[in-house]
Structures are given as C-alpha cells and as structure tokens.
C-alpha cells in the first residue's frame, strides 16, 4: 500500500505515475491499473478517467513480474484541518 500524489494518469495505457519519496529524495513510481482495479473518487466508484493528476491517492497493489499492479485506488481528501489524510 502506498499513499502518494498522482503525477501522471495514462488512461489509454492504464498506467499511473505517483510522486513519493523520503525528504527531498523524491521518486516516481509507475503502477499498472488492472482492469479489475477498484477505483473510488471522493467515495464514489469511478473509472480511471476520473483520476486527476495532483490528487492524493491511496493505492493497494501487488507485485507482478517487475511491475506493480494496482488492485484498489481511492482518492483522499487532504483537509487543512486534519493532521493525516
């Protein structure tokens, strides 16, 4: 599981790229979005097209060969009044 910011959403290739990292050592990770992946945007079931770059997402994934494959994606509301999303 990873919580990160969507950097890129490739709807045609069904890939997403996430910004993550430690301190200022930032990294991009690419995740394949499986056709059966459950996607939730603002609490509602959605398609990959509804994922918008810049949103913070929670991604559950499994490792498959040399890649990560998302099985669940949910957008998170980053509320200035909360300490964690």
């Amino acid at each position: 599981m990873v919580v990160a910011t969507l950097h890129l959403v490739d709807t045609r290739g069904r890939d997403i790229e996430l910004i993550t990292g430690t301190g200022l050592a930032l990294r991009l990770i690419r995740v394949k979005v499986h056709p059966a992946c459950e996607i939730t945007v603002s609490g509602t079931s959605a398609k990959i097209e509804a994922l918008k770059e810049g949103r913070v997402v929670w991604v559950q994934y499994r490792s498959e060969a040399d890649r990560m494959v998302a099985t669940k994606i949910a957008t998170l509301q980053v509320d200035p009044g909360r300490t964690t999303p």
């Binding site: 990160a4 200022l24 999303p85």
Partner: protein, 395 residues
Amino acid sequence: MSRAAGACFVGVALSCLVVAASCGKAMRPGDPLGGLSKAQRDQFNGGRVEFSRVFTPETGLGPLFNADSCAECHESPVAGGAGDEVEVHVSALIPNDSRCDPLIQKGGPVLQQVVTPALKAALGIDREPDPPEATGRALRTTPDLFGFGLLDAVPDATILALADPDDKDADGISGRPNRFFDGRVGRFGRKALVPTLREFNDGAFVVEQGITNPAVPTEESIGGAPIPAGVDPLPEPEIDQKAIDLTDAFVRLLAAPAPHGSSIGIRRGRTVFLDIGCDRCHVPRLRTGDSPIKALRMKVVNAYTDLLLHDMGPEMADICLGLAAASEFRTEPLMGLRFTEQIEEGEPRFLHDGRAGSIEEAITLHGGEGASSRDRFSTLSAKDRKALIEFLRSL
C-alpha cells in the same frame, strides 16, 4: 541551627533555585539537549562522528553530490551549525494548472553541483544539468540545525492551529501548512515540504552526498537518466541502519541555542519585535508534544517560527514545491540567527537564498505578508532599529 541561620540557609537555597531555574548551565553551540540518558548521550556523540564522516567515491560518495560530509556544510561554529554553501533547487509550475512538478523525471528538485571523477569521465559533466522544463530555479543557503529535534516534536495540531489560510482575522497574515505528497503536514525545508526530521535526514544523505541508505536505497538520477554502468560500483545501501540512526540522533538531540544577553537594548528590541508584528509569523515560542525522548517531551522552544508557509511577495519568488507557490516560504526559525551572522567562512548570507548580506537588509527585503512589518521597521527611530537588530543577534 538558629532561626537566623535557618532563614539565611533558606534564602541562599532559594537564590540557588532561582539562579538554576532562570540560567541553568549555559549551552554552547553543538551541545546536546539537557537531561539525556547516558545511552542517548552516547548516541549523540557517535552521531557527531557520523555527521562529520567524510565520504569518498570509494565509500559511496556521489556520483552526484553537493558535499562530502554533513559537516562540510553544517560547520559553523561547530558541526550542526550554519554554512556558506548554497545549493540549487528547481521545479516547474504546470501551465493552466495550479500543480507543481518537482521535476523528478529530470533530476529535481535538488540539482547536485559536484560530480565524481568517474561520472565526469563517463559523461563529461561538472554538475547535474539544469532541466529546460524548469520554470523556477532557487538558491538555498545552509541553516544551522540547532534545536531541530524540538521543532520535529511540535505537534501537527499546533501548526494547524496557527494557520489562517483565508486570513479570517484580517490582519494581512494568512499562513498555511505545506503538505508532503502523501498529504501529511510538512515542516522541514525552506518550503516546509518534509513532515519529519527523520525523513529529511534520510533523504539528505542521498540528495546531498549521494549516499544511499536503508530508507532511500536508490541513487538520484542524472537529469532523469540512469547512472552509467561502473560509475558507482559500491552496492546499495552505501551506509547501514546504525550509521543513519546515529546521524539522526545527533541532529535530533542538538540543543536549541539559548538566547544570550539581557541588555537594555536586547529587551527593548524584543518589545520592538512584538510592536511591529514580526511575531505574527516568527512566533517566539512553540511547545513540543509527546515524545519517546524525555528531553524533547513537553518542552518550550524559542523557535521564532510558526512552521507555516507565507506569501513573501513576487520579488522573493523562486520555485513552487508541493502546495507552496513560488512566492510562499516557511517562516524561517530565528533561533540561532546569530550563527548565520558569525559564519567562519565566507560572507554572512540571510534569507532562504542568501540574497541579504545583513539582518537589516533581510528585514527590508520582506514583501507580501511581511510587508507591513517591513514598513513599520522602516519608520522606526535609529535607536529602535538598533535595538531590534541587537535582539535578533541575541537569538
């Protein structure tokens, strides 16, 4: 004991208590926090050795780096202090969007300014190239790290309680928190992107020295391209968990600098500081929350920051980062400001990018949310200006 002698003894004992409470042992720069256990002091001392450890390409340095040890930059007046080194950060504001791209795919946001001989031989470069996609390029000076463990222990709730993103109190000050890419509240770095000291330290090993570690086991790219084969032969991670734990302990347990002096000028300067509203962002005192380390738990730190982002005006703008716009910067902690002025190598440089050569110039360069205090500073009498600078030099 006679009643008179008893009264005298009580009086002396009370005087001692008062002196101990108000003065305590004078902390010197680079001292550990008071009240550490022996094990913590041992960690601190071991960490200072790691902090000062000089890496070479053979021990993992690079292939891209800014310095060969933590203490090469954080050096004045002792390890953990300020430095004259200035580094380069970049990012890009995406057109027609409010999003900020930290240009990871192009080697950002930190561009290393030195390369190992092997990388130079392989690619013929002297530093990481500036990506043409960057819409902003920033210089970043080296702050002292004294008291950063205390800043780390300030609860998120305290930072959020100080925020006023919509300026509901209409005082012209509208601080807001930055957020890391997973949504957590940030506080470290000039753009307050990084949520914890631990993460800042773990990441700094890689972005500043090219030293991979268990928390960050991969090297930085070279402008987005992978490292040529054979250039960085040491297997990852290049330091072990113990080394990074010790380094973190050293930084975390560095005592906050005790404000020194109590002259009439300093006392007057403190009043002026409050009168012209500097304290609206440079909040004098923060309180730490719970911590597994007793010396960090429920302590008052004279930080002179709110750890929030403030708009400093277009003249100050450089890069966006996370939620921070190009003109937004975290309120710089003023604790330890005197160490920047007393830097042993090079000229003193103030503000995030070192553009100010003196404290007075730094004040006059404040814009945006700092403009009101700057303007009030400009109307002060010469005596009050002098007092304010004297106070700031005491921090």
